[in-house]
């Protein structure tokens, strides 16, 4: 019940906000924050009940929904899902609490946020392929309305592009799901069955096509080059908390899906094509970082670094699935790295986008050239930005380093050349973040920003909690690693 509660509470909260008329802004926000925190609390309880030495999937809940089609309300977690879902709930609570311009339509805004939280957690907790698809599509609907209604610039266009692009991918994925479903008898969408049976081995439906459908769908979501073009536009025009969720949570659905579906269910096919995926990942790492370096718009620049960071995750996943047996230690290392990268990127990039939101609220401006010397009027803003930027570029002692270290350590023993090339991505990222910090916070302070207010109470609280999370993961990652390692070991070497 605990997982259903984690999904159901935000959905019920969204319904409450939508159904009761005339919410006051502050009341709606407090209510939504409380519900989001309750959902997070459910996941914390799930974390306490999870035993790393136990079965792969734990806390399983199963209620028949459409037995005639082999579909059921099946939820459950492994260590990876638990880590990603908890991070997501935290990012949601943070984004909901963070100040935002709701344009006097607070109740619908917070209702969509809670709706999005419920369905996003559903994606990570689902153990049924069709249920996964249901939540995956619903997350697009939620994001479409958030960007279109509360975004700025060409927000409706961006929202439409985002929805269409990812929906194309999700339809290809649906066809692939049906392919997987038809290749087990009796037909079932139960992920546990599909993982145990590896149904595409010697199946009539061409495994390569199913794999291609899955990977394109998930690559659009992740996004991997060349399917990334929807991302910068959606990010720039979205309201900042929605950007934080888009980067922090929604992108993870792509990589999480890769891990859960093609990686776990089609091991042979995945191993055969792992080198292609790894190559695309390295291209994403370098291309994403280079594009980010070339941007002059703060939010756009951070958006492009997401492509780079998700590239690390995909590289880790590709390395972990590159072989059917042998080199287990290195592959497990890579997989753990990929998962930690998901968690770290969610927290760090979430913070960075929220900071962007603070910029927008104060100045209505994202062009970096307009800023300079902000360290003087806004020392706290500067401090949190510096911390998040350092974490993002992979400074030791912060979460990004733990992730990237694991990924590259694993990659070196499987694809050494790709690791060497990929390292350059880190260099470029470091350069671009240092340049950003220099441009924004140091140098001459333009006259118009001399009275820029520093962070407010809620901003301090939210950024403080997120920063604490990625510092703790950087210094003492053990609590996270034990949970992830158990599942990663199982996935790399099924016993």
């Amino acid at each position: 019940m605990i997982l259903t509660a984690a999904i159901g509470l935000p959905l019920a909260g969204a319904l409450t906000l939508a159904a009761i008329p005339r919410w006051r802004e502050a009341a709606a926000r407090r209510f939504a924050t409380a519900v989001a925190l309750l959902s997070l609390l459910c996941l914390v309880l799930a974390w306490r009940r999870f035993t790393p030495d136990g079965a792969l999937f734990q806390l399983v809940e199963e209620v028949p929904w459409v037995p005639g089609l082999g579909m059921a309300w099946r939820l459950g977690v492994d260590g990876i899902a638990l880590a990603v879902a908890s991070m997501s709930a935290l990012v949601f609570a943070a984004s909901i609490l963070y100040p935002a311009d709701t344009r006097h339509r607070a109740a619908p805004y917070y209702a969509w946020m809670l709706f999005l939280q419920g369905v996003s957690l559903g994606v990570f907790l689902a153990l049924d392929l069709l249920l996964f698809y249901v939540f995956f599509d619903l997350s697009l609907v939620g994001m479409f309305f958030l960007i279109g209604r509360w975004g700025h610039g060409q927000s409706q266009r961006s929202a439409l592009k985002f929805f269409l692009y990812t929906f194309c991918g999700s339809l290809l994925m649906l066809l692939a799901f049906i392919g997987l479903y038809l290749s087990v008898t009796p037909h079932s969408f139960d992920m546990r069955v599909l993982i145990a049976e590896q149904p595409m081995v010697g199946s009539a439906i061409p495994a390569g096509l199913v794999f291609l459908g899955l990977m394109i769908g998930l690559a659009i979501k992740t996004p991997l080059v060349p399917f990334h073009t929807w991302l910068p536009q959606a990010h720039v025009d979205a309201p900042a908390p929605a950007s934080a969720i888009l980067a922090g949570v929604l992108l993870k659905m792509g990589t999480f899906g890769m891990l859960r579906i093609p990686f776990a269910m089609m091991r042979e096919t995945f191993a055969a094509y792992a080198w292609v995926i790894a190559l695309v990942a390295v291209i994403s790492i370098l291309y994403g970082a280079s594009l980010a370096l070339g941007q002059h718009n703060l939010k756009r620049r951070i958006a492009y670094t997401s492509i780079n960071h998700m590239g690390y995750t995909v590289l880790g996943i590709a390395v972990a699935g590159a072989l059917l047996s042998g080199n287990e230690a290195a592959r497990q290392l890579a997989l753990v790295g990929a998962t930690v990268e998901m968690v770290a990127h969610g927290l760090i990039t979430g913070s960075l986008f929220l900071i962007c939101g603070s910029f927008w609220q104060r100045t209505g401006e994202y062009e970096m050239a307009q800023f300079g010397g902000l360290a003087k009027p806004a020392p706290l803003l500067t401090g949190f930005s510096v911390l998040a930027a350092f974490a993002s570029l992979g400074l030791p002692g912060l979460a990004g380093f733990v992730a990237e270290f694991h990924v590259f350590a694993g990659t070196f023993s499987v694809y050494p050349w790709l690791a060497v090339i990929g390292i350059f991505g880190i260099l470029i990222t470091a350069a671009l973040f240092l340049l950003t910090l220099q441009q924004l916070f140091f140098g001459a302070l333009p006259e118009k920003w001399s009275g820029l207010p520093d962070l407010g109470g809620r901003e301090k609280l939210v950024l403080g909690v997120l920063a604490a999370a990625f510092v703790v993961i950087g210094i003492a990652p053990q609590f996270l690693l034990t949970v992830i390692e158990a599942s990663a070991g199982w996935l790399v070497d099924p016993r």
Binding site: Y133, V134, L174, L182
Partner: protein, 469 residues
Amino acid sequence: MPVGDLLPELCLLLGAVAIVLTSSFLPQQRLGWMALLALLAIACSASAALMQWDTPARLTFSGVWALDGPAIAAKLIMLAAGAVVVALSPGWLATDRRHGEFYALLLFALLGVIMLASASDTMELVVGMLLSSAASYPLAAFHRSFAPALEAGMKYFLVGALTNTLLCIGVVWLFGLTGSTGYPAIAVRLAQGVDELALLTATGCIVVGLSFKLAAFPAHAWMPDVAQASPAPAAAFLTVVPKVGAAIALARFLALLPAPHHPTLLIALLAAATMTLGNLAALWQKDVRRLLGWSAVAQSGFALMAIAAMPTSPDARTSLLLFLATYAIANLAAFAVVIELRGRTALEDFSGLARAAPGPALVLILAMLSLVGIPPLIGFFGKFMLYRSTLQGGLGWLAVIAALNSAVSLFYYLRVAGTIVFGQPDGAVHRLGGASPALVWLSGALLLAGGLAVELLVDALQGVGSFAG
């Protein structure tokens, strides 16, 4: 004569006759009562059809009339849709001088399409086609003084006259080939082998003839005009009900052809052409009803997918019926909203509707998302079953084309949804009232609840069995 087997149809016939007679004597203000009479006839007909549901599949009336799962299921879907349309009509036609006849025409059209779905004889097929066509033309042009409605009716009539003739030619040709009009005898004769080119010609003519009712390529041209300009209840009827009957008729006819002659590729190509054409034409429409018309064309293409997969996929019939049922609910919901908004149709007039009329706006958006196939709305399960049957039938390429088409269709539905939610309201929203708000809410609830409880529908339709004969 086993008259009892025709009870559902007789109810409709008697109801229609009673309406024609009564409405000639009633004063205009009372003509709305005829809606109740029509609903009564439909209710009797539906309960008679329900009683036939669990009986084994068989042919009756000297083998010209099929009583089997697909026919009865289609009958029930069409009757339910017809009832919704009848309930939507009184408010719309309250001031019309010939209000009463409308219901008689609806019942006759309903009777015709039910005959299409149940016909197990080519002559019967022609009669059903002609009856439903003859009753549908005046429905489309019911507002005689409204030029666009006349134009729509005229277009409908011209396309119909041409394709009905083709259907007759096909039927005659087939008779010449096989010496018979009854489906069982035709199947036996075809299995012995006939001239391939001649069979293909006959099949082609019959397929084109039926594609008219289905609003599929190449006889789709009437649909957007009818959807845009006919009285909105008639448009709701004509975009939904004939499709169901024609799809079953087409499936039943194609099941006669022995496997090597089954025109799978032809039907698959028609499906691809229909959905692509409908979607591309809908992309930049500035009129919501016309957009719904083109989307109805596109949805016919989806229905054809299941028909194409019929020989190779065991549950294609279930998929077809489930899809048609889900489509009927979503399209009727959309038209119920249009009717409730007094036929509001220009896209810019929908701007900001989410604030000005939140209920209808919500239902219209749900209906459109259901037509795209966004889960967990009921339309998703219809599309899902179609994909499943198509992949199972080995038509992967068609499934991919359909998926891309779904994505394209999302674009124009979202244009409407975006206008409704993101736009600024402009002026007051005039509502129709009467039964239509209740039907708007009911259909909206069905879209969601039907998706959550889709098991009931799947379960009922999975036992639908094959065609009798």
